[in-house]
Amino acid sequence: MTSSEILFDTPADPAVEGPVLQVEDLHVSFPSEAGRVQAVRGLTYQVSPGEVLGIVGESGSGKSVSSLAVMGLLPESARITGSIKFQGRELIGRTDTELSKIRGRRISMVFQDPLSALTPVYTVGDQIAEAILVHRGGAVSKSAAAKRAVELLDLVGIPNAAERAKAFPHEFSGGMRQRAVIAMAIANDPDLIIADEPTTALDVTVQAQVLQLLETAQEVTGAGIVIITHDLGVVAGFADRLMVMYAGRAVETGKVEEIYTQPRMPYTLGLLGSIPRLDVGEKQALVPITGQPPSLTDLPPGCPFAPRCPMVVDACHTAEPPLIDVDGSPEHRAACIRTGEIAATDAEGAEAAAEIFGAEVVEEAEIAKVPREQRDTVLELDHLVKEYPVNKGVVFKRRVGTVHAVAGITFDIREGETLGLVGESGCGKTTTLMEILGLEKPMGGEISVLGTNVSSLDSKRRKAIRRDMSVVFQDPMASLDPRLTINDVIAEPMQVHGYAKDEINRRVPELMRLVGLRPEQLSRYPGEFSGGQRQRIGIARALALEPKLVVLDEPVSALDVSIQAGVINLLEELKSKLGLAYLFVAHDLSVVRHIADRVAVMYLGKIIEIGEVNAVFDAPRHPYTQALLSAIPIPDPVKERQRERIILTGDLPSPANPPSGCRFRTRCFLHASLPPEQQRTCIELEPPREEQAPDHEAACHFAQIRQVL
């Protein structure tokens, strides 16, 4: 960052006064099959220089559309009215050529999916240099721009930047690509950066890196930032002000602290109450918001949240409530006619939500009272190994390496127990799952289901075991055959296992009621249900054969937060009612803390820490667990700002070529701080899993407790 011809302007351009961005009464609509979709309906907000505004909302709330409108990047079919003023100049109605002079120069944008955000055929360096050349082509030479691109890559933390600038996007990992996009966004020292779900597609440790980078970018450029997210945690520590959107409108705005502690709109309240907290040990009541966001084609009069609101009164249906000042603070505004009553409740934040929405803690199952050792083992893995060959060559394939996807993992699940299996993408948790579900003889190690070793199974007994183990998948859109009715979907497992017709006809409606759906809907097709409902249908199917063990593969990660809570509550209820054991695979540690009894953390095909859930979360021993926990944002601005964050460097090493000794050592902060002779231990010796406390094991030579929550 030393000798560059192109320098940033001084932070905070003195030439402009007042807000950088001023949006007033913005309306955006699109044509669709069912009529015009009113995606944004009268949105007003502003961003001051250097300010960070968080826009929070669920999918379809209009948060992304409104930002694309600012950039002038909406498709031609969009109809836009209202006013968008950037540094006092109106943007609506400008030609593409005029807007292109502002885009990338004064306002820049970071998109959600870094994997597809870069043009695959040009090098990363060229694409960053292009961002400079397109605006300063006359003043800056090509070589200077290329040099600047390298500096920017260095600034955003790409190691070996000069070399990496020559790489193509596909050679970059997701996190690195997002860094490159941010480098592009700050290349011309913009006055406003819009980040649209910049971390949604990334793993938590990478998310922490990118969030930190955005903070750096804000410091370097002094730009105002609009950060759009569905995750209330992400913005808690970063944003100054918050705007909550619902059905195309702002329903609550204000200072971050105020909104988190004193939400005054039931929707905000519900959102806060529906998030499982990473930092809460005791069982917490999750608030499910019933129903669905409304369709934006044909909104009835009145508050759009009214059909889902626990506080609804007749007056809510007459007119849409405007944003009004609450608690006498001009900065905190909410669109609800009953803000006063919410303010009157004693509780704050999430607790108030539980009170108002009437959420309750699910009772524990009978079986949970039996000590763990005395319960039957439903699933046992003993040094399970799964490897894939890496082949090269087109005509003659030859093996050039091995991906060690699962490198000897051991755990067991007892009756009525939930084990959370967590780890980032590529850690081998899905492979483990598929190995368990496949019921085939493993490459190495043993899998036992209900005491039966699967290696010795013939096809008949394998089928018999399938009755006791079922699965719920992540994607509610893909997990139900769209061509079958719900009745056929739920009946299928029973048909496979030869249930009598009468029995099936009796059980199917029963299962529907069990998962909280109406049996009258049985003749419908999956396409007619919402994501949450479909996930419930998937659960009903999994329960059809009355299994002992249900394998849950990220069952809530594809759902909006408000829907998520309902499904988590259902899973807890069923577990308690039916005495089920769960293998709960997830990347979201907050959900795991809420639902699991024990947790296993995976890294590069190995379990590096396992134990009772509160022990692992409150007193993590392994540096990776510590980093993982510290990377997860907590929806509490005060706590979040005080927390120390461990930022891991670099990306996950390739499982085809894992580091020697301890697999985590290449990214380990503890390893880096050790004297050389101890470092040698990490490099040469693979740490064994050792007991650290009762029911708490970790695989680290230098394990020590570090509290990060």
Binding site: R466, P493, E528
Partner: protein, 325 residues
């Protein structure tokens, strides 16, 4: 060759189906069912609708038309040789006095029949082979891919042409089988690609993990979910089969006398196209209109079945313009 058409590549008409590789799951909270939505979208596409009417009309005409004419394809009018169209012979006559309308209808019958049969057989074979190969992979799959590769090098036109002396004088059924035998491979390859995608879909995995046997999974979950692709492909295959038949018959490698098809008529009369155009133009016109209609219907179906289709936008713009006017 590595790629013929990228599986699921959205593309023009010749290369069979496209759009999304797999029927996308419809969006939630849609009041309309998928079937109804597809139907509405198809109806909205005027060209496809016209195409459908034309196709049905031509099948009806080919089989009913000859009954309405007083001439038949095997009788001659000795008072009219090489007459251009006039009231007595609406399509004119050829050099031995056969009524061209009767002859064209006769040819149309054969061509349309061959097209329909070939499309049905080849699409069925493609669905079975493609889905099986894609689901089980292994040797059968390798063999399929290799055959498809080879077929690219050795066009089916060439093979059937080479084999034509062998089926000379035999039934036209043989030609149907030959055409079908060489038309299923490309569709099978696309079906294979889609099966690979579908196999990874969670509902297929769910069926597998509940103990559903592979055969049932293919029949119950995989093939029905490719229905739209198969319908589009079958439609377009009717057109390709008619074109393939005409091409072969043009050189005398396809339909053999005494049978006539559009191809034999066009081939026999191409030389006289500049001197006695009606001999050529009528069969050629029917051929082009039919294939065009088939392609339009195929395209309309693709649009209707493709959830990302954006035609509605244009539609709406037009509506608002009309309202404004």
């Amino acid at each position: 060759m590595t790629v013929i058409l990228n599986e699921g590549d959205s593309a023009g008409t010749t290369g069979a189906a496209s759009g999304s590789p797999v029927d996308a799951a419809p969006e939630p909270e849609k009041a309309m069912t998928r079937g109804r939505l597809v139907f509405i979208r198809f109806l909205r596409n005027k060209l496809a609708l016209v195409g459908l009417v034309v196709i049905i009309g031509m099948y009806v005409m080919a089989f009913v038309g000859p009954l309405l004419s007083k001439w038949t394809y095997d009788t001659q009018d000795y008072s009219a040789f090489l007459e251009p169209p006039y009231s007595e012979h609406i399509f004119g006559t050829d050099k031995i006095g056969t009524d061209m309308f009767a002859l064209t209808m006769r040819g149309l019958q054969k061509s349309l029949l061959i097209g329909l049969l070939v499309a049905l057989i080849s699409t069925t074979v493609a669905a079975v082979v493609g889905a099986t190969a894609g689901y089980f992979l292994g040797l059968a799959d390798k063999a399929l891919m290799w055959v498809v590769d080879l077929l690219l090098v050795l066009p089916s036109f060439l093979i059937i042409a080479i084999l034509s002396p062998w089926f000379r004088g035999k039934s036209w059924w043989l030609l149907v089988l030959m055409l079908a035998a060489f038309q299923w491979m490309i569709t099978a390859r696309i079906v294979r690609g889609m099966t690979l995608t579908l196999k990874e879909r969670e509902f297929v995995k769910a069926a597998k993990f509940m103990g559903q046997p592979a055969g049932t999974i293919i029949r119950k979950h995989i093939v029905p979910n490719m229905a739209s692709l198969l319908i589009i492909d079958a439609t377009i295959n009717v057109g390709s089969a008619v074109l393939a038949e005409t091409g072969l018959s043009f050189f005398g490698f396809g339909v053999q006398s005494p049978d006539v098809s559009l191809g034999t008529l066009i081939g026999g009369n191409a030389e006289s196209a500049t001197t006695f155009p009606w001999l050529f133009l009528f069969p050629a016109g029917f051929l082009v209109v039919f294939v065009l209609a088939v392609n339009w219907v195929g395209d309309g179906l693709r649009d209707a079945l493709d959830p990302t289709s954006t035609r509605v936008r244009k539609r709406e713009k037009k509506d608002t313009k009309e309202k404004a006017a």
